[in-house]
Every structure is written in C-alpha cells, then in structure tokens.
Amino acid sequence: MMTSQVTTGMNVASGAAAIAASQTDAAVLENAFNTLKTYDWGADPEILKPIDRAIIATQGDLAARRALEKMLAAALVGGLSRSAQDYVCRRLRIVGTAQSVPALAAMLPDEETSHIARYALERIPDEAAATALRDALPKVGTKLKPGMIGSLGVRRDQQSTKAIAEALGDPDIAVSRAAAQSLGLIGTSAAAKHLSAFANKASADMRLPTADALLVCAEQLLADGKKAEALALYRALNSDDQPTRVKLAAMKGMLAAAMKK
C-alpha cells in the first residue's frame, strides 16, 4: 500500500514533468517542491526559485499553469511550516484560481494562517474566493473579523453587504470600523442605506469612521451615476453635528453632484 508521502512524491514528479520544458527542469522543479516540505524560517529562499521560474515560464500555458497551481495547493494541505505556507500563499496570490480556494479557505479560521490565506484569496478574482471569505466571516473570532471584512470590502463584494452591515454594531471597535470602511468601499445603494441607518445611532468613537465611509460611498455612487443618492448622503453629512472638515467635504460633494450631468 502506498503511503501518502509516496503518493505526494509521485504527484510532484508527474506535476513537475507536466510543467517543465525539459527533464532537467522537471527534476529541478520537483526538487524545489520536495524542499518545500522541510522549508522553514532561516532557510535560503533561493532554493525555491525554480518554482518562481516556473510561474514565469507557464505564462500563457493554461494546462501547465493549472498543474503548477495544483501542486502549490496540494502542498498547502501537506503539513508545511508557517514559513512554507507563507511562501505558497504568496504564489497563489498570482496563479491561484477556484482550484486553490478550498486549501486556502481551510486556513482562514486559524489565527496563524488566516491573513496569509487572505493574502491570496483577496486578490484571486474568481467568485469562489469571495464565497470562501463570506462563508468564513461568521465562523471566525473577533480578532480575524476585520481582516475578513476588509478583504470583502476591497473586492467590493455586494453579496456580503448584509453580513458586513450586521458587523457595524459590533462592540469591538476594530470590527465596527472595518465594517464601515468596507461598506464605503462597496459603495452601492444598499451599502449607503446601512451606513445611513447606522450613522443615526453610532457611538462617539464610530461617528467619524461612519462619516468617512459615507463620503467614500457617496463618491462611488456619484461615479456610478447615482446622483440623487449621492446628494442625499452629502446633505445628511452637511450637518452641524459633523466636524467642519466633514461638512466641507459634503459641501464639495454637493456642488460636484449638482454640476454633474
């Protein structure tokens, strides 16, 4: 019976052969992937360079790229050190697709690996990456929530609007702030409604982050041609209970909206 180690070894060999242009290249790449299993802090990153070279060499070769990605994703579930996981996630940030998402998603709930998994997931355009972040949000602890929310905000993930809006009222200020910022970045009518509703009840330390998010949201709405909705946000912010700089920003926004055709 084959051990899992032997199986992995065979996969690495066949994967390397599918990627490399020559037998020599394949052996070098196979060696780099095998090195990854024992790679840890203090090791010379140069020993993994064949993998970097393979990323460049497989540009435009979909089959080879998928084989390479498969090897990287498979390595992640093989009990790597934190340093090796870090290395792999950085590469999946560039070459990752839906194929890698399950391996990365499994790292999201762990405080040690959550961020480096997002390092890849936030930048993978496939919808599966957003789904993984959305699914993880209710499952992770308070410490990790701002990161998860922030990544969804950067992606402007409209499907997570409701879940992020629920985090606006979180007692942890980092979670609440991340939620406000992300809704601002999402910048849709729905995000604006949630932010506006929250603004009326925001605690003292959330007033400025909420106003900031509303300004960002209004700019996005205006850029998207939703002039009336942007104007409504600006009018609400042009209020005496806002700092002067926020009022001024709102006034500028109102003028810009008025001049927009």
Binding site: D44, R123, L255
Partner: protein, 401 residues
Amino acid sequence: MVHGRRMFLKATAASVALPYVIPASAMGNAGATAPSNRIVMAGIGIGNMGRGDLGSFLGRDDVQYLAVCDVQKDARDNAVNRVNEKYQNKDCQAYNDFREIMVRDDIDAVHCATPDHWHAVIVLDACRNGKDVYCQKPETKTLREGQLMVEAARRYSRVVSGGSQRVLEDYRNTVNACWGGENGLVKSINVNVGPLPIECNKAEEPIPDGFDWDLWLGPAPWAPYHPHRCSGSYSIDGTSWRSFKDYSGGGMTDWGAHHFGGATFAIDVRELEPEEVIFHNENGRKFATCRYPNGKLLHHNYPGRGNLQVEGTEEQGPSKAVPGYAGSGGIYGDFIDCVKTRRKPFRDIEFAVHTATVCHLFLIAYELERSLKWDTFKQQFVDDDEANRLVDVARREPWVI
C-alpha cells in the same frame, strides 16, 4: 476596484470654485494652534529618517512638537527628550500607537517616517482626522495605496507633501536644462536604480525589550523578529527593511522615489502617469521603459545610458520657469508654508504618487517579466488579470484601507 472616485475628486477640484484647501481657522482648528501661531506637529516613526525629519522641523520657529510616536521605546524616549530639551518644558508626549495621536485635536500636522508599509494607513487616518501630513518617500507600497492617499487628501482638503527633497535639489542642472529648452524637444530620460526587493525568510531571534514587534509589522504579514528585517539602515543588501518586499519596494522605490521623481520633473510629466510599461529582455539583460500618453519615454536601466541622461532634439526647445519651494527651509519649509497658506506643496501627494506609480509599474513588469498596459483612469492593468492582482496586497487584521 474603486475607480471613478479619483476622477470625481479631480473634477471637483477643477470645477468647483472652492479653495484647494481651507485655512486651519476655518476648519475648526483655530483653537488648536499654539498662541505663538506655530504649527503644532507630531512625529510618527522617529528612528533613522524620522530623526532627521524631526530635527529639520524642530529647527523652525514656526513649528512646535507636542507628540512623538515610535514602536521602539528607546527611539521615542530619545525623541521626547530631544523635543522637551529644545523647548525647555515637558509638554511633548510619547506614544507607542499612532492612533492615540490622531484623535488629539491640538495636533495640526504629522510627519510620517515609518517603514513604507505603514505610510498609507497613517496618511489616510491623518487626513480623516483633519491633519496635514509630511510623508517620507517612497510614499506608497502598492498602486492602490496611492490612489487612496490622493483621494483622502482631496476629500478632506489636506496639505499632504511627499518626502523627497532630492527631486528639486539634486537634479537642478538636468531640470533647468530641460525646462530651459536646452535639450530641444525631450524624447526620453533614463534612470539607473536598484536593487529589486527580495523576500525575507530570516530565522527568529529574541525581540528586544521595549520593541512592539506586532505593531512594527502592522499591516504586513506576520513574521518572526530578526534585526535585519526591521533595521532602518539605508543599505539595501538584505540587512534592512528597505531590502524586503513586505515593507519596501527595495532600491526601485527607495532611491527610485528620488531618481524617478527628478526624472519625471525634468521631462515635465509630473502630472501624468504612464500608460504602458515595456519589458525588455535582451540576452538576459533586463530593462524596462514607461511610455507616457504624450509619447515621452522613461527608461529604467537602459543599457549604455547614464542616470538621468536625457535624449532630446538638436534645436532649442521652448523655455519655461521652473517651479520651486514656497517659504524658506527647503522641502520642510515648503510644507510648513503650505500648511499656513493652504496651497499645494511642491511635492504634492499627487505628484509623489505619480512617481511611486512609476516605481510600482516597473516592479510589477519585472516580477511578471512582461510588458503591461496601465489604464490611468481605472487604475488597473488592461486585460491582465494577473498583473491586477499585484495592484495591492491584503493587509493583516485589523488594518483596512
């Protein structure tokens, strides 16, 4: 992903008859200004370069420091003692966490000289909290950060100056020759700079007492402490944070902020971003060229060309006056003067970001080893999903921008 907002802000500035920025008194900050009418400042990141910045600002009669911040206790204690000794009082407060400074209403402006991976978080928070900012170069770690920093400065009518004094001061001859028409119609300029940043995999060493390692890392990926990882040494040889990808763009951004800043000033493309970066690999010799919408070329490490070597035409070109600093005291005086007058500084954040953008475009082209087209409006690469992934990085919790 947030394209469109920046154009909105540009359009607002261009079409709305409001001053670029509003006087401090009109912004509700009048009570915060010291009775002597000094600009009240705080320093964030006061190690190597920050120590120099602090000294330059401290030497001015129109500035008063009330706060300094550093994640290393020795650095902040030294800075507090230096400031209090200067003013012969004990008014200056030391902070480990910059967020405590941001909520102080009595601070008008901050200087930010942290490692590069912190710049965007701090500049955005300063703008949000109504503070003007002098930010050390290179101002950004990613392309997206630059866009957000310009947006925040414009949104809140803040004076935000980049931090390269060399752009104006080191390349005067080249700038004067180009602006004076001596190079005819300028076609291109070359910059020789490096090295590229590398990844750091140094083994763990004990964290020194008084060093908040987690806050030093901030939005960057977690990594074990090693003195080389966080050394503020100016060497870019694997023994300083300037060498490593998580905290810097290596020599490409560190010295690139100066050289490319001077080069883009000389050939008068400060207000533009390139629309294309062309990657060359001639028999293993790699170099690259940025092409601007007006056709001007900015080369990086073009074989056989010197640093800031200009290619022009034979005839005398048009001549125009070279812009310079406001006030007195170099780039620091320029910033303080603009804080008072609410004008744009010489190294306005938008110009600084355009320079940083050049650096990042080159970095990404070298990383992917291919030519790329850059959509300056959308702030995205054209038809290149892979390159667009490198426009930004995911930040470690709880940091979101």
